[in-house]
């Protein structure tokens, strides 16, 4: 009996677990374990596309210039709810240089953010109502101001209270709560556990609506050549965008080419085709010319996704020694007009050992821009509430917050009743506390408060867990050219994470090539094998193993060719630093010599990602420590220092990985201190749809950061030993900072961002 070629495997993405049927690779190499002798993987090599980026030659979507290209801009709704009763394009189309427009009738059946594109019913302020196309971006924008629109304004609900209140306007025809009921998840008996607890704390936590704010807004360039469509897209998922376009316009997949070379930040907001994509494609077809459609900053901040605001009521029950015996959370999530169940409650079930957990989540539709994945969606919000509550409990119990977390260490995935592939959170606690100086900084902060001066120091910490196993499907090809250079081909994306670099490292290591000779090609649906979206911290652990297998297959082929050239057997050969040698002799041939002898014979290896281990949770873990200084007169918080200790399995390139950790921490710092979409609730519009009033961190806000990885290689997760990194660092930052502020002030901190007025309100018990 032959073994099955296709099997089922579980893959977790953004907290959601899916079952996929995947083809098993022909080769499943033995894992690189902790003692594996690796020469290139694990090295701090320079980012392979750095030269393009520092010289301005890296080409982003808005840098694509096509012959005869036109430019599109959007007319947007200025009210949160209403009906368009008249939309007259006459004046706009008569402006010289304006070439066309797009309205609902042109894009029938295509949806954007949960509503028909250019819907004549207005569901949120910022919703696109029409697009204008002109010779220049400025003309297109000017044309938008000449569209005559009459709108009948309708009552809106832009807050949880308004949407859940009596006589609330219906945001969606089916009701303002999906399926009209909360989502409950539970194990054990929380009520009984809490009744027997020695200590119980209950707190209400609030988190803001945060905006991704990539420096490069969403954008697309579309060009038709006959029936063939090419789209340059700023995206985290070229294949996803291809299928979105093919479905929207009823096109065969093989007529749609989506490419992405460089992109200026996604953070979860750029996973699907959106209004900019559909508009560029539709206008390009209608007008017979290439069309570029790039969101302006206001469009980006109102109509391109967000991290939903939440209100979370948390109850923790513990025994005198700190053992958690009951966790209850009641969560309300301010969705916007649409979204998916990014669960703040999930981390309550995962992070600590606890037999009794009950969570209830109510997702609420509002007349605001739609929620979308934002770096660890749900977990960031939930971690803030859970980890702040843990500190409140620690204060109640008089136990060191770090010690409380150690006493409730989860040994296995309690929710799914399965082991972790590997878990070194204990090492993160230990090494993080050591490098941070947890004990002496706590003493120092307490001493600073004893003076009761204006500047008070505090320290805090938090930890995190995040699904980071990656999984199939993902494919790669490794091709050896006649001059001995190597191409790694895979349809993944590099968002600035460094995937281009680390795939070259993995391929060079597995093949035995010099890294300088290896180049990675990404981001083209027409010419590269499939890889999935760059989301859910999955790319390294998904695509990396496929690259390794492809390189190993290329290696065995090139060795067989060299064996023929050298008149020996392939098993006598070794390949290292691009040199083939007969073991135990001085006889060698470089890959370039092999290539020259072979000519244009194509030596290629194919690779794919195998199945995930069964019944195993594969996660990234981290512990983060923060020291802050609070000015009790002004309420200003300054973060002085952050130490972040991570367990993500093997690290392919520590420099690039640390860059990602720092980036996540800095985004978390913004979430903790500054970032908040502010709505005028009477008008239902955003008051800060720009990068001045929506404040992301600047270089002046940055503490000293010591972010590092505890040494490990996860031989269970996959054969490279690597797990994901990207989302882990943002999860514990806000609670670590808030806990430090609470420590500094000696009061509970329950709401972020910790703007000066919130700090003063907490201090004054308001």
């Amino acid at each position: 009996m032959t073994e099955k070629r296709f099997v089922s495997t579980k893959v977790e993405v953004e907290g959601r677990e899916e079952i996929k049927i995947v083809e098993l690779p022909d080769l499943e190499p033995s894992p690189w374990d902790i003692d594996a002798k690796l020469a290139i993987v694990g090295q701090r090599v320079v980012r392979s596309d750095a030269l393009e980026k520092v010289t301005g030659r890296a080409r982003y979507t808005a840098d694509v210039i096509r012959p005869a290209m036109l430019h599109a801009a959007f007319v947007r709704a200025r009210v949160a709810s209403g009906r368009v009763t008249r939309l007259d394009l006459t004046r706009a189309l008569s402006l010289p240089g304006v070439r066309g427009a797009l309205v609902a009738a042109d894009v029938d059946g295509i949806s954007h953010m949960g509503a028909p594109l250019f819907d004549t019913t207005i569901h949120w302020a910022g919703q696109p109502l029409a697009a204008l196309c002109a010779d220049t971006p400025e003309l297109a924008r000017e044309a938008c101001t000449l569209v005559d629109i009459d709108v009948e304004t309708l009552p809106h609900a832009v807050t949880l209270a308004a949407s859940l209140g009596e006589n609330a306007p219906l945001v969606r025809p089916g009701g303002n709560v999906p399926r009209r009921q909360p989502r409950i998840a539970q194990r054990g008996d929380v009520a009984a556990a809490l009744a027997s607890a020695d200590f119980i704390i209950t707190r209400e936590y609030k988190t803001p609506c945060a905006l991704h704010t990539p420096l490069e807004p969403h954008g697309s360039v579309a060009e038709w050549m006959g029936d063939d469509l090419t789209v340059w897209e700023s995206t985290q998922g070229i294949f996803q965008v291809r299928s979105d376009i093919a479905r929207a316009f009823t096109l065969p997949y093989n007529r749609v080419r989506v490419t992405k070379d460089y992109m200026g930040g996604g953070f979860g907001a750029k996973n699907y085709a959106a209004a900019n994509t559909f508009t560029a494609v539709a206008l390009a077809r209608k007008l017979g010319r290439p069309v570029r459609c790039i969101l302006d900053r206001e469009g980006e901040q109102t109509d391109a996704g967000n991290r939903a605001a939440s209100v979370q009521t948390v109850t923790l029950g513990a025994l005198r020694d700190g053992t958690l015996i009951g966790i209850r959370a009641d969560v309300k999530v301010a969705y916007g007009y649409s979204g998916w169940y990014a669960s703040p409650a999930k981390i309550f079930h995962e992070l600590y050992e606890c037999a009794n957990v009950n969570t209830s989540e109510t997702f609420v539709y509002l007349n605001t821009g739609a929620m979308d994945s934002f770096r660890a969606p749900g977990h960031v919000e939930g971690a803030f509430a859970l980890e702040c509550a843990m500190d409140a409990l620690a204060r109640e119990l008089g136990i060191d917050p770090l010690e409380l977390r150690r006493r409730n260490y989860a040994q296995r995935d309690q929710e799914k009743k399965r082991p972790y592939s590997a878990k070194h959170l204990d090492k993160c606690y230990e090494e993080g506390a050591e490098r941070f100086g947890w004990t002496h900084r706590r003493v120092g902060a307490a001493a600073s408060r004893a003076h009761a001066g204006r500047l008070r120091r505090g320290v805090g910490m938090a930890s995190q867990i995040w699904g980071a196993g990656g999984g199939p499907p993902a494919y790669a090809t490794v091709r050896i050219n006649p001059d001995g250079t190597v191409d790694v081909l895979t349809g993944a994306q590099d968002l600035g994470t460094g995937s281009r670099t680390i795939f070259a490292q993995i391929a060079a290591e597995a093949l035995g090539a010099r890294l300088a000779d290896v180049r990675t090609v990404l981001g083209d649906t027409e010419r590269l094998p499939y890889a999935g979206n760059s989301w859910g911290s999955i790319t390294t652990a998904s695509v990396g193993p496929a690259v390794r297998v492809a390189a190993l297959n290329a290696r065995s082929r090139v060795l067989e060719a060299a064996a023929e050239l050298l008149g020996t057997d392939a098993s006598t050969l070794d390949l290292r630093d691009s040199v083939v040698g007969i073991k135990g002799t001085e006889r060698t041939m470089t890959l370039a010599q092999v290539g020259r002898e072979l000519g244009d014979v194509m030596i290629m290896g194919q690779g794919s990602r195998g199945a995930n281990p069964q019944d195993t949770a594969i996660c990234a873990f981290a512990a983060q420590f923060a020291e802050v200084e609070v000015d009790v007169d002004t309420g200003r918080v300054r973060v002085l220092h952050i130490t972040s200790a991570h367990d993500s399995g093997r690290i392919i390139n520590p420099t690039l990985a640390e860059s990602q950790l720092e980036g996540g921490i800095i985004q978390g710092l913004g979430y903790a201190l500054f970032e908040e979409r502010v709505l005028d609730t009477a008008l239902g519009i955003s008051m800060n749809p720009n990068t001045h009033d929506y404040k992301i961190p600047t270089i002046g806000d940055i503490p000293t950061i010591d972010a590092f990885f505890v040494e490990s290689a996860d031989v269970v997760a996959n054969h490279t030993g690597a797990r994901g990194i990207a989302e882990a660092p943002i999860i514990p930052t806000a609670p670590a900072i808030a806990n430090a502020v609470a420590d500094a002030l000696g009061v509970d901190v329950t709401e972020i961002p910790l703007t000066p007025w919130r700090v003063l309100a907490a201090l004054n018990g308001v």
Partner: protein
Amino acid sequence: MRLRVNAEDHELPIAGHETLLTVLRERLQLTGAKLGCGRGECGACTVLVGGRLAYSCLTLAAGCEGEDITTIEGLGAVDALHPLQQAFIALDALQCGFCTPGQLMAASALLTRNESPTSEEVRAAMSGNLCRCGTYPKIERAVTAAAAAMREAGGASARQS
């Protein structure tokens, strides 16, 4: 009108409302400077006008006649990188790279007027250039390292002459 960009003269008809950024990107196809906000808030469009830092998204091209304009494309050559470019590469002071040209131009303006900036001075000078990937710690390190390398090179060439 005549626009002098990266030591090359360009004769262009320019409308009064056109920003320097639009002319650089769409007319001269120098796409290194980026449009991030169009309001002088993010710094992605930073170039040098007469050696001084300018947000090209807020600068009218018509006002730049007779000025020497430097963009990222003119900061260094691929085979002779500016010390800032070398330091940004060596210290991984970039992630997605979208803000990088603006960061480099702001840093070059700083080092032109202050050859040994303190950490506080680097932060103050660079605080108008946002980076959403959060590369700031490494940007600060790279600017400081480049300043040291330039001082050393300057000292070496002074000793030679």
